[in-house]
Structure formats: structure tokens, C-alpha cells
């Protein structure tokens, strides 16, 4: 049933594949494998197609293998995902041990019989395994490398669909098969999700590489999705059946939405990349004049992802927030506070995301071009426009037609949580959407859009009503300064500076300045760049790797090439075996 959700993703995949002219087989197989993943019926088959999916995506990431960094990216990606798979295997085997079967249904029927410690273990394994693929912090390390390196339509598929298969895995195996029975699972996932949201969006703010920025936003959005999922698990264990279903709906809804608008954004970024041949935002600008369509669609996507009404991102974020609120209402004690803070974190994320996309759109498309390439950029070919257009339409539809979609998702969620949803109403009359009849808090994107249109029209009317205003164009006000050019513009770095300072406790920003001076008084050129320290990479992964390599290096010394020593090994082995024979 959840595969229904992904079909949306596949559609997108198809369109985005129409985007580039070489219609590569790998991409197609990739899609097929993802379809296989979400339709697999037993764990072994699941494992196989799961690995196949990783393998194919690896090939796709390394597609342009002449570039050094794409090889590195693919390396990191495949290694991380393989580690994840090892955990998944362990989890499956534990399940098999206690259920004696690989078929989902059988495991499901027997899973309550597992002893609790084992269940917890399986949960942890599954979480780590799928979390690696989904890219929840701190396992997200591969994501900002791999996504930007793949060709853009592939990035849109990876970020739009592939990491969702991990969410599918979590829903399928933890909620559906394992069945949630303790509270802390949900809470753990919630905590991780909150961290992912914030970390993802903060890093995104710091990023000047358009596609990397989007990749970090994938981390953030995965976080938001997991907020829904985690809450659903929490409420399920608290036996708040209605809320369990509701928050799962919220999660799934955001899942679809993210697939859509993130796809759209990646395509937009792709066509920008194609147009000016760089992903560095500092070299862009003014593109809205040269490539209006791309700009328009990108704007749409940006508004959707920052949760502005009346687009789809708005609806799902609103649902998630409501889920938090109602959870707070129905829970007690510290949990109230926890959920409140969660809601606050979500709101914070929303705000930061908005800021981030103001930056992304504003710096990329607005004002004057910051480089030659940006000046003579060309609009993308029709096929690209078409692909983006379709996704843009989807963005609007999923914003306005929330009610029927929610009805469908209710079925899915009900199935996943195996809760009977017949007696639950998720909507009132035709286009108004509410939670519980008792406590009506309504939302109708339709009406809001309507209102916006009406008043917008009113404003326009007011503008043009009286005698035609005399409008004159002139260069930007420069305080009587000499003529402004693109070098006076606000840069992406400048834009994100307040945030960089605000989160310096976490980002550890550092600057590199370099002066080339002719004389003491006259500085010839002055270069200034700031960077932020990737915390998890620097303080977790690199030391770990260092440790491993050190041990390996020590091991290397056991093989110094001396035959006498080698014979000595044999001798010692025999001796020790004979001495400790009793032990075996």
C-alpha cells in the first residue's frame, strides 16, 4: 500500500528523466529497483533489491567519474550505506531467529512473542540501518557529498525517492511488522528528527553550493517526516490511536510533498548549473531576467519548501504542528513540555528554511549577474521546462486538494498502524479540513488561496484605480556614491552572516584573510573567506578512521618479511594450542 505513495516519486522520476537527452538505462533500473524495494514481500528479497538499489545509485553517483570529488562522494556513499545494510541484515536475522520466517506477514504475526530486549535491539539496528540511508544526523555524512555529484535528475530521484525508501523501511519494519510497544522508541526517533531538522537547515544556510544546499535540506525534511513518524509511534505506544494515525498522515504527506518540491528544486538547480556551468551561488544572480521560467518554478518550489501558504509544504508542516499540539493536549507532564519544544523546534526550522530559500532564490536569480557566465545564461530547453512545469502543477495541486489526499493517506496510515480508521473523521465539509469535530480548528488552503487572490486583486485595483501612476525606471539609489555594480550586492556569505555568528557555538566558523600589499599604506588586493567546521566529520568520523588506520598500521608490522619469524608464528601457534587445549 505505501508503494502507492512512491508512485508519485516514480512519475517525477520519469519526467526528470525526460529532462536530459541521454535516457540512461541505469536510471531506469534504479527506479525499478526502488519499486522492487517497496513491493518486496520477504526480508531476503528486500535485502537483495535494497543492495541492488544502493549499487545502482552508486553507479549513478559515480557517473561522471572523471571528476575527483564524484569518486570520493561515491566512495563515502557506498561505504556508509553498506554499513547500514550490515545493521539491517543483523536486524532481519534476529527477526528470523525468533519468527523462523522471512515473510513479512509471518514475522508480523510472531513478532509480539519476541522478548523485549531483543525487540529493542532489532529496533536500534533497524533505526541505524535505515537511518543511514535516510541521512538522519549524525549518519547524514554521505548525503551532501553524494547528492550534488549525481546528474541533477538523478539527484532529484535520490533525494526525492531513494531516501524515502528508508522511511518506508522504518514504517514497514518498525511500525507495521515489529509493532511499537514502548514509548522511548518514538521519543528517540523524535529527538533524532529534531536534531536532523536543525542541523540540516543550519548547514544548508551556510552552504553556497546550490545543490549541496538542497542536499542539506533533504536532511532537514527527512527530519520533519520523521517527526510525524516518531510521534505516530509515540502516540501508538500511548494508545492514542487517533493521533497515531493523524501524525503518520502528517509524516506521509510531507514525504510526498518533499518528493515533489525537492525534485522541482533539484531540476531547477540542474538547469541553472547547465546554463552557467557552476554551482557556486556567489557567481550567479540576475538569472530571473535571462531564464524566467526556471526562476518562476524555482520560486514556487522555494515557497513550497519553506512552508508558505497555499502550497503543499504549508499543509504538511501545519499538520505536523497540529499533531504536536494535539499530542501535547492529550499527553501529560514532561511529555507536554517535550512536545512543545518539538513544535518550537519545527517552527524554528521553518523560519530558518524560509531564510535559507530567500537567500537561495534571491542570490541566485535576483539583482545583477555576479559573473560573465551568469550574464549570458540561456533559458533551459523546453523538455526541462516541461518537467519542472509538471512538478510545479503537482506542488499547487497537493497544496489545494489536501482533503482527498488526506483521505487516501488515512487509509495508508491506518493500514500501517493496523488501526481501524472507519470511526475517525479527518475532514468536515467539502474543502475544509479539521482534526476533531469537538475542537474545531480549521484549515482550508483553498479558502486561503481564494482570499489571497481576492485581496491581491483588490490591491492591484487600488494601485491602478485612480489616475495612472507615473512610473520611472532609474538606477538603484547609491547615496550619491559612484555607480553601483554587482560587486556592491549583498553576497550569500553576507546574507548568512548573522546566522553564522548566531550558531557559532556549533559551526565553529573561521576566516582566512590574505593581504597582498605593495607598501605599508597601500594594500594591493585583499581576499577574505570564511568557512565553517563540519562538526560530525571533524569530531566523530575522522578520529574513528584515524583509529582504524592506526590499528591496521600496527597490524602491518606482523608481516615484516622475515621467514624465520613466520616459522616462529607456526611454532608458537602449535605450542599455545597444545597448552590451552583444555580450553577448547
Amino acid at each position: 500500500m505505501p508503494s502507492l505513495i512512491y508512485s508519485v516519486g516514480y512519475l517525477k522520476g520519469q519526467f526528470s528523466r525526460r529532462r536530459i537527452m541521454l535516457l540512461n538505462v541505469l536510471g531506469f533500473l534504479f527506479i525499478v529497483s526502488m519499486a522492487a524495494v517497496v513491493t518486496a514481500g520477504n526480508t531476503i528479497f528486500f535485502l537483495i533489491v535494497w543492495e541492488l538499489m544502493s549499487l545502482l545509485s552508486f553507479f549513478l553517483v559515480i557517473f561522471e567519474h572523471e571528476h575527483e570529488q564524484s569518486v570520493t562522494a561515491a566512495k563515502i556513499y557506498i561505504v556508509m550505506t553498506h554499513i547500514g545494510t550490515a545493521f539491517i541484515i543483523a536486524a532481519f536475522m534476529l527477526m528470523y531467529r525468533y519468527s523462523g520466517s522471512f515473510a513479512f506477514e509471518t514475522i508480523r504475526s510472531l513478532s509480539p512473542a519476541m522478548p523485549q530486549p531483543i525487540r529493542n535491539l532489532v529496533f536500534i539496528f533497524l533505526l541505524v540501518g535505515f537511518g543511514t540511508k535516510a541521512g538522519i544526523v549524525p549518519l547524514h555524512i554521505w548525503l551532501p557529498y553524494a547528492h550534488p555529484q549525481a546528474p541533477s535528475h538523478i539527484s532529484s530521484m535520490m533525494s526525492g525517492v531513494m531516501i524515502k525508501t528508508a522511511i518506508y523501511g522504518i514504517i514497514r519494519f518498525i511500525i507495521y511488522i515489529l509493532g511499537v510497544n514502548v514509548g522511548w522508541w518514538g521519543i528517540l526517533i523524535l529527538a533524532l528528527a529534531v536534531i536532523s531538522c536543525l542541523v540540516g537547515v543550519i548547514y544548508a544556510l551556510m552552504e553556497h553550493d546550490l545543490k549541496k544546499l538542497l542536499a542539506y535540506h533533504s536532511v532537514e525534511n527527512i527530519g520533519i517526516i520523521l517527526l510525524g513518524v516518531g510521534m505516530s509511534m509515540l502516540f501508538y505506544s500511548m494508545n492514542l490511536r487517533y493521533l497515531a494515525v493523524f501524525s503518520l498522515i502528517a509524516g506521509l504527506y510531507h514525504l510526498i510533498n518533499h518528493a515533489i518540491f525537492k525534485g522541482l528544486l533539484f531540476l531547477g538547480a540542474g538547469s541553472v548549473y547547465k546554463a552557467i556551468g557552476t554551482r557556486d551561488m556567489e557567481k550567479m544572480g540576475g538569472l530571473i531576467k535571462t531564464m524566467p521560467w526556471t526562476a518562476g518554478f524555482f520560486l514556487l518550489g522555494a515557497m513550497a519548501i519553506s512552508g508558505l501558504p497555499p502550497f503543499n509544504g504549508f499543509v504538511s508542516e501545519w499538520l505536523t504542528l497540529q499533531a504536536f499540539f494535539l499530542g501535547g493536549l492529550n499527553s501529560s507532564g514532561n511529555l507536554k513540555l517535550f512536545l512543545g519544544l518539538g513544535a518550537a523546534a519545527l517552527a524554528f526550522t521553518g523560519g530558518l528554511a524560509a531564510a535559507c530559500f530567500v537567500k537561495a532564490f534571491g542570490i541566485t536569480f535576483l539583482a545583477l549577474p555576479r559573473s560573465k557566465q551568469a550574464q549570458q545564461a540561456k533559458e533551459a530547453p523546453v523538455s526541462m521546462i516541461l518537467a519542472m512545469g509538471i512538478l510545479a502543477v503537482l506542488v499547487i495541486i497537493f497544496g489545494l486538494a489536501a482533503v482527498p489526499i488526506i483521505k487516501v493517506l488515512a487509509l495508508v496510515a491506518g493500514y500501517a498502524t493496523s488501526i481501524d480508521i472507519k470511526d475517525m473523521t479527518f475532514s468536515l465539509n467539502n474543502f475544509v479540513l479539521s482534526l476533531q469535530p469537538a475542537q474545531e480548528a480549521f484549515l482550508s488552503p483553498g479558502l486561503i488561496a481564494f482570499g489571497l487572490l481576492i485581496f491581491g486583486a483588490g490591491a492591484v485595483a487600488a494601485y491602478f484605480l485612480f489616475n495612472r501612476p507615473k512610473v520611472s525606471r532609474y538606477k538603484t539609489w547609491d547615496c550619491g556614491y559612484y555607480k553601483l555594480d554587482s560587486r556592491n550586492e549583498y553576497t550569500a556569505t553576507g546574507f548568512s552572516k548573522p546566522f553564522r555568528l548566531a550558531f557559532s557555538f556549533f559551526l565553529f566558523p573561521y576566516k582566512r584573510t590574505q593581504k597582498i600589499r605593495e607598501s605599508f599604506y597601500h594594500v594591493k588586493s585583499f581576499s577574505y573567506e570564511t568557512h565553517t567546521t563540519p562538526v560530525f566529520k571533524k569530531y566523530f568520523y575522522e578520529p574513528l578512521l584515524g583509529l582504524v588506520f592506526k590499528t591496521a598500521g600496527i597490524m602491518r608490522k606482523i608481516q615484516p618479511g622475515s621467514i624465520h619469524l613466520y616459522i616462529g608464528y607456526i611454532f608458537l601457534t602449535v605450542l599455545s594450542l597444545i597448552i590451552f587445549m583444555g580450553k577448547f
Partner: protein, 487 residues
């Protein structure tokens, strides 16, 4: 007694080699001969396992499922590498690495090598088995030192000395077994069948000691750490097809011998505890050593050698775990590793010959410069590291499943951990080597047809096995349980 064909054909071939002058014809006849052997051994295995015909047991031969399975493995790899040799050796001769008469010598040794291995897995008398294993050492030592470079001679020396020491310990073990026999009043024979029959009555203490010697001795040959030290040297210096044979088959014959004695020991001690503890211990140690050394490895062929150690480790862990599922896993792993590793060694052979260096850091853009080899090597990489749809994934999965069913979580945990480490290391080493831009100044090169055929043959088997497995798995488990009953 169609099995005799398997033994006779190599002899005939070597005679032919002595007579035929034209190198090319000779090579082709050679590989045809091995195709024939392959067919015969297929038929044999089919008849004993599937048709369940009575097992051939004489004072000389013992051809139960186990032996025939190993015969099949040997034949497969033998065939592939004989085919690969056609192109490879002829090129070496053209490049003047050695003379054509020396090439004949090569084929001669090749035949002796395989003959001795066939004898190892088919003989009944353990003493003769021992002799044949020593033979394999001697013959392959000549093949390791074939290039007459400093390194190759050094490698051969280490190989022959270390293995002989090990082997002599194994002989001591055998003698202790026979002593146990004589104590139990058994016949004064070294036939495995008699030994197995008597196993129940043997003195447990002596059995244990004896098995230690056997394990260390044949373990040296099988490349179990810490007796593995000869292996990377020998593998990295041998002629490429021979490297394939060494790590694909030779190690497995030693494993075969260990299995034989293991069966006796288990029967004698009445429980598989002792055996399984030892095997798991050695397996994990080998895995650890392999993982660590692969991480810091620079030399392509040495890396492959260490990965052989790793897989031997997996196999012995599988043996330690035991039970029908694990047995199937082990047998399949023996087969899969033989095939995949040969594929890898062929690929490595081409790469090394093309770039004329072993150091991976110095090699770039293989896929660009030699697409066929490059792609197959890439696939082989994923196969050897246990990715589906390649068959090693299946066998490892089977072993892991068995382990979980047995409840030995710690062991499997370590196994998984080391597998992941090895995978990461190999990817880390190979991706810069395979991808990226190739240097401009390479001589142009295209793989001869025979090599391509060999590659595709192996790849087809590797993929086919894994695809076919889900349908065969049930019968497979039963059959394997029969073959390795008591492990």
C-alpha cells in the same frame, strides 16, 4: 570408473605437450582437455548427489559427494584459467618475458599441479593425501618462482619452506591418528574410511592433540592466520592464472583435508564443540588480520591475496558454526570464492600487465583505458565484497543465518564487522584505481578472445548461481547436510 578420466587426461595432456610443437595449438588442446574434465566431473557429482548412486570406495579412492564437489571446483577453475592462459602466456612469450620452450614447461607444470590436486581430493589413504599435498606445494612453488625475478624467487622460497614445515606437522598429526587407531586395535591402515569407522573408539585426548597438528599443518596451507604469511607473497608473485589456481583451489584442497579430519574428530569426540571452537577462533583471527592488512595495502595482487585469507576465514567460521545451512553456505562459498577470485586475479593480471606496476596508487582510469577488463573487474569487486546479485552474497548470508540460528551472535557480529571493514577498504582502494582519467602514454591493448571468454564464463557462473539459488536452496541444504554430515 569414469573418474579415472579426470586423472588420465592431465597425464595425456602433458604427453601431448611434450610432443606438440606449435604453442597455440598446444594451448587450445590444453583448454579443451580441461573442458572435458569439467564435463566428467559434472557428471560424477550429478550421479553421486542427485542420482544418489553408491559412493566409490576402494583402498585407493574415496569419491563421496565431498570429494566430487571439490573435484568440480578444481575443474571449473582449472578450465577457466587454462582458457585464460592461452592469451596470457602467448602474450608473455611475445613480450619476451620468457621463451616459448619455457611456456611448454609452464603447461607441463600446470598439468602436474592440477593432477596432484585432483589426487588430494580423491584419494582415500591419508598418507597419500599428505604426499600429494606436499606435491602441490613443490609444483606450485616452481610456478610461483616462474618469472625468475628476485621477488618471485624469494616468494617461492618462503612458500615452500613455510608450507613444508606446516605439512610436516600435519604428518605428525596423521601419525598420531594412526597411533590412536593402533591403540584402539584397528587395522594398520591410514584409509580415511577405516579411520572414520573406528572414530568412536579412538582415544579422545590423542584425537585432540592430533587434530591440533592437523589444523596447524593444513591450516598453513589453507592460509589461516597466523600461518598465512606465505600466502600474499606467493599469490602476488605467481603467474596470473596460477595465482587464480592458488587462491581459488589450492587453499580449498587444504580445507578439504581439514574437513576430512574434522569429521573424524567430531565423530570421535561425540560433539562438534572442540572442532567448532578451533575453527571459529582461527576464522575470526584470519578475518581480523585480513581486514587490517587490506586497509593499508598498496599492492594490487597482495590485496587480493589477503582477501582470499579473509574468505578462508569466512569458510572456517562457517565450518565452525556447522549444521546443514552452514554446510551449504560453506560449500557454496568455496565454489563462489574460487570463481570470483579467479575472475579478480585474471583482471588484476591484465591490469598489471597493462600498467606494468603493482602499486594501486599508481594506477588510474582502468575503466577508461581497458573498458572490458575494467568493467568486469568492477563487477568482480562488488561480487567479492558480497553484493547481490553475485553469489558470494548468498553464501555469506547462509552462513550468517546459520550463525544466528545457532545463537552465536558475537561471532556473527564480528564477522559482519570485518566484512564491512574489508568492503570499505577494498572500495577505498579500487575506486580511484578503476575510475578517473587514464594516463595518456599507455600502449594500446585489447584482451584476446580467449581471455574475454574466460571472464564471461566465470561471471556467468557467479551471477547464475545466485539467481538459481533460491530455487535450489532447499535441496541444496539437504544435499550439503548429507555431504558434510557431522560438521
Amino acid at each position: 570408473m569414469i573418474f579415472l578420466a579426470v586423472l588420465i587426461i592431465p597425464v595425456v595432456l602433458s604427453l601431448i605437450i611434450l610432443m606438440v610443437k606449435r604453442a597455440r595449438a598446444l594451448a587450445i588442446i590444453h583448454s579443451l582437455g580441461y573442458a572435458a574434465i569439467l564435463l566428467v566431473s559434472l557428471v560424477l557429482l550429478y550421479r553421486t548427489t542427485v542420482l544418489a548412486e553408491p559412493v566409490v570406495i576402494s583402498d585407493l579412492f574415496l569419491l563421496d559427494g565431498l570429494s566430487l564437489f571439490f573435484v568440480l571446483v578444481i575443474s571449473l577453475v582449472g578450465f577457466a584459467s587454462s582458457m585464460y592462459s592461452i592469451g596470457y602466456i602467448s602474450q608473455d612469450v611475445q613480450d619476451g618475458r620468457f621463451s616459448s620452450s619455457k611456456a611448454r614447461m609452464y603447461y607441463l607444470l600446470f598439468n602436474f599441479f592440477l593432477l596432484s590436486m585432483y589426487l588430494v581430493v580423491s584419494l582415500n589413504n591419508l598418507g597419500f593425501v599428505w604426499v600429494c599435498i606436499e606435491m602441490t606445494t613443490l609444483v606450485s612453488a616452481l610456478l610461483v618462482g616462474f618469472y625468475r625475478t628476485k621477488q618471485s624467487v624469494e616468494a617461492a622460497w618462503k612458500y615452500i619452506i613455510i608450507c613444508s614445515v606446516g605439512i610436516i606437522l600435519a604428518l605428525l598429526g596423521i601419525i598420531l591418528f594412526s597411533y590412536a587407531m593402533s591403540l584402539a586395535g584397528g587395522p594398520k591402515s591410514l584409509n580415511w574410511t577405516d579411520l572414520f569407522a573406528m572414530a568412536g573408539k579412538l582415544d579422545k585426548n590423542i584425537l585432540k592433540i592430533a587434530f591440533i597438528f592437523i589444523l596447524v599443518g593444513y591450516g598453513t596451507k589453507a592460509g589461516l592466520a597466523p600461518m598465512h604469511t606465505w600466502l600474499p607473497d606467493a599469490h602476488s608473485q605467481a603467474v596470473a592464472p596460477i595465482s587464480a589456481l592458488l587462491s581459488g583451489v589450492l587453499l580449498k584442497t587444504a580445507v578439504y583435508a581439514i574437513i576430512r579430519f574434522g569429521l573424524v574428530v567430531n565423530k570421535g569426540l561425540g560433539s562438534s564443540e572442540y572442532f567448532s571452537h578451533l575453527m571459529v577462533g582461527f576464522g575470526l583471527v584470519s578475518l581480523a588480520v585480513a581486514a587490517g592488512l587490506i586497509l593499508v595495502q598498496k599492492d594490487l595482487k597482495r590485496l587480493l591475496a589477503y582477501s582470499s585469507i579473509e574468505h578462508i576465514g569466512v569458510i572456517s567460521v562457517g565450518l565452525g558454526i556447522g549444521g546443514p545451512i552452514a554446510s551449504l553456505g560453506v560449500l557454496l562459498h568455496v565454489l563462489n570464492h574460487a570463481l570470483t577470485k579467479s575472475l579478480m586475479f585474471f583482471g588484476a593480471g591484465n591490469i598489471v600487465k597493462r600498467y606494468d606496476r603493482h602499486n594501486m596508487r599508481m594506477i588510474h582510469g582502468v575503466i577508461q583505458s581497458m573498458p572490458f577488463t575494467g568493467i568486469l573487474f568492477l563487477l568482480g569487486t562488488f561480487a567479492i565484497t558480497g553484493f547481490p546479485p553475485f553469489s558470494i552474497f548468498m553464501s555469506e548470508l547462509l552462513i550468517i543465518i546459520a550463525g544466528f540460528l545457532k545463537g552465536s551472535y558475537v561471532v556473527i557480529g564480528f564477522l559482519l564487522f570485518f566484512l564491512v571493514v574489508v568492503f570499505s577498504a577494498i572500495i577505498n582502494h579500487f575506486s580511484p584505481m578503476l575510475f578517473g582519467r587514464a594516463p595518456k602514454d599507455l600502449p594500446k591493448y585489447s584482451e584476446p578472445l580467449s581471455e574475454k571468454l574466460a571472464f564471461l564464463f566465470l561471471l556467468a557462473l557467479v551471477v547464475g548461481l545466485s539467481i538459481a539459488l533460491p530455487w535450489l536452496v532447499r535441496d541444496g541444504i539437504i544435499a550439503a547436510g548429507e555431504i558434510l554430515k557431522g560438521i
